[in-house]
Symmetry: C2
Subunit: 176 residues, 2 copies
DNA sequence: GTCTATAGGCAGATAGAC
DNA sequence: GTCTATCTGCCTATAGAC
């Protein structure tokens, strides 16, 4: 799904890769929509665990944002896309249950980022105009877009240029 | 393609909408890849014409960037995605000719933006660190990402929050 | 829980009449 | 240039043996 999208792979593809038959897959995931939703939930869980791990480290808000961006960067290995970014593109063709799971992923990310942003502003390590929620959304958009546009170029530099510039713009400008 | 992606529509869908048969479509576009490539080229041409129109207006670099962002915003009508943003997501499954056309679209945009950015810096209306090319890439990434993430929310505010913040960050800070 | 076999439908594509 | 008719292949999904 991260490589080819929900509409770009089949039960047959998965069956070959796992050395089982399509029928066996149907035993575990009754329909393709169930498989899709399960994969989103697993992705969301893993992401949430990674965020909790970041919260557990010592380091201020800027370091947390750096670590957050690095999570996205991992998708570049294997020319993958963020799973939910991919599904945002295919959103109009997704079954309802998958749509809900995608939105929940973004909501969770937005909430975590907004907390970090408020913490950073309070401690003076970050500065930004407007609401933490809007900035959180901008961060998600920028990172997703950077991954997206990197794909045709097979070029990590595309991603890193955008992510570095974004994080830099949120750090408190020293001389102001 | 902008709504459902290249893998999300069929000849049958198009035939119904145009009140013709699939066979008639095959007369004009031998294969789906030909149809896809033609649509990218048409999109690219229209975009290039819109950029030339922006160049023809009076108004400095900041106004041009605003107009550029507004082009992306138009896709939000009808919950569409930028065609090439959509195809960037599906890139791994695209025929080679379509891949090339997608990259050409992004290259053209990058070149146009880099020109505007250099012009803005020369005239003092814009300020940014790093190369114009890197900033151009960041602009494209951010706008594509803002469109992408807006989709699950059906919410233009998502897009506009990110695009406004981006353009603001490039305007020369008055007090520096 | 995995398999073989197959259903039923839709995909992209072509032949050939008009 | 558009049509009807059809092909071949893949899709998701199911039945039922082991």
């Amino acid at each position: 799904m991260q490589l080819r999208g929900f509409n770009g792979f089949s039960y047959a593809d998965v069956a070959v890769e796992l050395h089982v038959t399509k029928a066996s897959l149907h035993y575990h995931f009754a329909g393709k929509a169930d498989l899709g939703e399960s994969l989103i939930r697993r992705y969301d869980d893993r992401f949430a665990r990674a965020l909790a791990e970041i919260d557990g480290r010592r380091g201020g808000a800027p370091a947390k944002l750096d670590a957050y961006a690095a999570l996205y960067g991992r998708a570049l290995e294997g020319e993958r896309m963020c799973l939910c970014g991919m599904l945002a593109a295919e959103y109009q063709t997704l079954p309802e249950a998958m749509r809900r799971a995608v939105v929940e992923f973004f909501d969770r990310n937005e909430a975590w980022l907004a907390d970090v942003l408020r913490e950073g502003k309070r401690s003076g390590s970050l500065d930004y105009p407007g609401s933490a929620r809007d900035v959180a959304r901008t961060i998600i958009s920028t990172l997703e877009g950077a991954l997206l546009v990197s794909r045709p170029y097979g070029d990590e530099a595309h991603f890193h240029a955008a992510s570095r510039r974004l994080l830099q713009s949120l750090r408190r400008a020293p001389g102001r």
